[in-house]
Symmetry: C2
Subunit: 436 residues, 2 copies
């Protein structure tokens, strides 16, 4: 497996070489095998272990085990204990969701603070097959049927081309020790049921199930990329972005026999669910409309008009207190006071803390919102800004605003507001970091 692994890195993931890697390590067989493969391949990495303190002494033994293994292999290690239960109770969230969020939050913090380039996880092909079946069982579009991605953003999964069998064989040959996996997957019951009761039968029916599965998801990903091309292509011909709404031209759309497929692809990001009502709108009389939680789709003569709902509902409003260092929901922001401005980016801004009115709020945008774009002297309607920047429908739907006293501080991840920027008079610099 080692040479196959190295070959896979060389051909598929060459960008990992020479980079600083952080390896998420539970102490289970998958992550311990990945640690060993990375070690033997002379990759530059450290390990990170989360102790969620959910299983008392056992959790601590996991921690000690990972620590001792890292010491033995002379690999730098980061360990973090979380009061997962308390956090879940405070935030009225499930243990699983909280554990997942805490884990990635911490990884990204390590990444930022210690200049790591990528986070590696030990997901493998069997995990990917289970994910496919879970999504299939629940009902899914193609996006749920393409397995676990080998890379998204900073997270890379170099074992995805390997099976559980490969990993077990390598562990045995190399006398690798591990702790039984303490998975915090929210779908643990489902996953075990599939792993133990369903997949073995499928493997009996086709002993090369895993490689068939690899081919299947490769082809599905290709199909998906073609479908996206088609959706973008027709979008340019049939849809126009007005300042405060989006216009779909019905006669032009109806030239395509599969117009419903296009409507689905375009409107899905806005939370529409009752598709037969959406499709019926095409032939409905002017004034008819279909609602999602956030948007209105309105029939108007020869067009469908898509508007964001005018009023932000209260459950879409989130508060940030003074001194709070992080937000996890509805998106991940971290706040810290710094003495100087370093690299600014679309995901990192610096603001004058004294100009802020706490608590800050995170909310959706609404018609009539205005802001003063960073570097400009005048104000601008947000809807105008979206139009000028050619934001797509899904981009507009996913926007969050960080506000102070309902003045926009940041169109998160997009554009900072001029009014809160650092000036010669600033005494307290607040760095705000968005992790997407």
């Amino acid at each position: 497996m080692l040479s196959k692994f190295q070959n896979h890195i060389d051909t598929n993931l060459p960008f990992l070489k020479g980079k600083k890697l952080l390896l998420a390590t539970s102490g289970g067989i998958d992550s311990m095998v990945l640690v060993n493969l990375c070690c033997q391949s002379k990759l530059d990495f450290a390990v990170a272990h989360c102790n969620f303190q959910l299983r008392g002494e056992e959790s601590n033994e996991d921690e000690n085990f990972v620590k001792s293994q890292a010491e033995k292999l002379q690999i730098p290690i980061f360990i973090q204990r979380f009061d997962t239960k308390a956090f879940a109770e405070q935030n009225k969230l499930s243990i699983q969701v909280v554990a997942r969020n805490l884990r990635y939050e911490w990884f990204y913090t390590l990444l930022a603070n210690h200049n790591f380039d990528y986070i590696l996880t030990a997901h493998h092909l069997d995990d990917s097959l289970e994910t496919f079946l879970i999504n299939f069982t629940r009902g899914s579009g193609i996006e749920g049927l393409t397995g676990i991605p080998e890379q998204n953003d900073k997270i890379v999964r170099p074992l995805l081309a390997f099976s559980r069998n490969d990993i077990e064989a390598f562990a045995k040959e190399n006398l690798i020790t591990w702790r039984e996996d303490s998975s915090n997957a929210s779908d643990k019951y489902l996953r075990n049921k599939l792993r133990h009761d369903v997949i073995p039968i499928l493997k009996e029916l086709n002993p090369s199930l895993l490689s068939s599965f690899e081919n299947t998801i490769t082809h599905l990903k290709q199909t998906q990329s073609l479908a996206q091309d088609a959706a973008n292509n027709l979008y340019q011909k049939v849809v126009s972005e007005e300042e405060n709404h989006t216009v779909i031209d019905i006669p032009n759309l109806l030239k395509y026999r599969n117009y419903k497929a296009y409507l689905f692809e375009w409107l899905q990001p806005f939370g529409f669910a009752d598709w037969s009502s959406v499709y019926d709108l095409i032939k409905a009389q002017s004034g008819k409309q279909v609602l999602s939680n956030t948007h209105i789709l309105l029939k108007n003569r020869d067009s469908l008009l898509l508007f964001p709902k005018q009023n932000t509902t209260s459950d879409e409003m989130f508060w940030i207190q003074k001194g709070q260092t992080e937000v996890k929901i509805p998106l991940k922001l971290s706040f810290c006071n710094v003495s100087d401005i370093s690299l600014q980016s679309t995901n990192v801004i610096f603001v004058d803390e004294d100009l802020l009115q706490f608590p800050l709020t995170l909310r959706r945008w609404q018609e009539g919102d205005i802001f003063q774009p960073f570097g400009m002297t005048g104000k601008k309607k947000l809807s105008k800004y979206f139009k000028d920047e050619k934001f797509s429908l899904p981009e507009k739907a996913n926007i969050w605003l960080l506000c102070s006293d309902d003045k926009i501080v940041w169109i998160v991840g997009k554009r900072q507001d001029e009014r809160f920027k650092i000036t010669a008079n600033t005494t307290k610099i607040l760095k705000i970091n968005y992790t997407n």
Copy 2:
């Protein structure tokens, strides 16, 4: 279920109303329920029962059962006995393949001879789910993951929106009797394993599995239609059809990050299987080539050239004897002498039997083939004809020629040859019918 069924016919299959329908009836619960639903819905139908004579007395009891039920309900019935075993041995084919071919061959003959409009089969949603899982297990692109189609060509499956539970409940309520299904499915073992061991677990994990599955395949079909749009769209920009080959322009293709997905979509119909070699050809030196069973893909400077192989191999040649009334492989043709020319179509031709040299042959086309298009005085290269008619790559790959002494009689399903047409001198008219 009756009102749901009638509603489904009204909204999704209204074209069935007032048409002559032929209902494939094994005598099993699914087909007996369909018979009853069609009866109560006052559809105009007859039943057709195949006795494959594979299970001795049991087969004959099935036949008698269907016959008595049809009599009781006063529905016209067609029964056909097949010597399936002998036929399989003669043609060196599996019993399952032969049974399937005989069955559809006979249905299509009934359709033609008795002016039925559609064949109905009793496939339901659980069958479709099983088909999905069979294809998934074997490895498949999206085409295998969209379930059983509700309609292809003349075959319509009005129970596809209903589950096995729906059908069992209806049978119970309506005191419908049936014979245990004598499925001849070639995948019977696989299907039973999935039905009894896999699907019950998936249903336990999600009690609404079937409706989730319906949504999944609806979305996958939509995605597939978008992908086809994209493939056709780029084909027009990047691919050109020359007289004897097809040219893919590489620099233009490489403008698309997902060019591999396009190559896959275009070249898959030609039987290419080693995709990494196909993809590597893009950057290979001129003269490199990749072969499929029927085609050559050649790198030439800035292009990929696709040629049909020059020589038709002997196992692609099929013989038709004088007096033979049907061909089932490699495609379905029927031959009968008629006294007059009736409706001619792309799928039905009439020829002067005395002009034919038996045995006729069915073969693939090759470079250099010429014919005399019906209605024209001159000859034409087949490759020129394909180009003029803008045949796509898959269409060209699927062409069969019916030949007499190696003169083309018919580009099957496309264009008849002038030389064998009926004239004032014709004494024996042969009607040839192609069923696709």
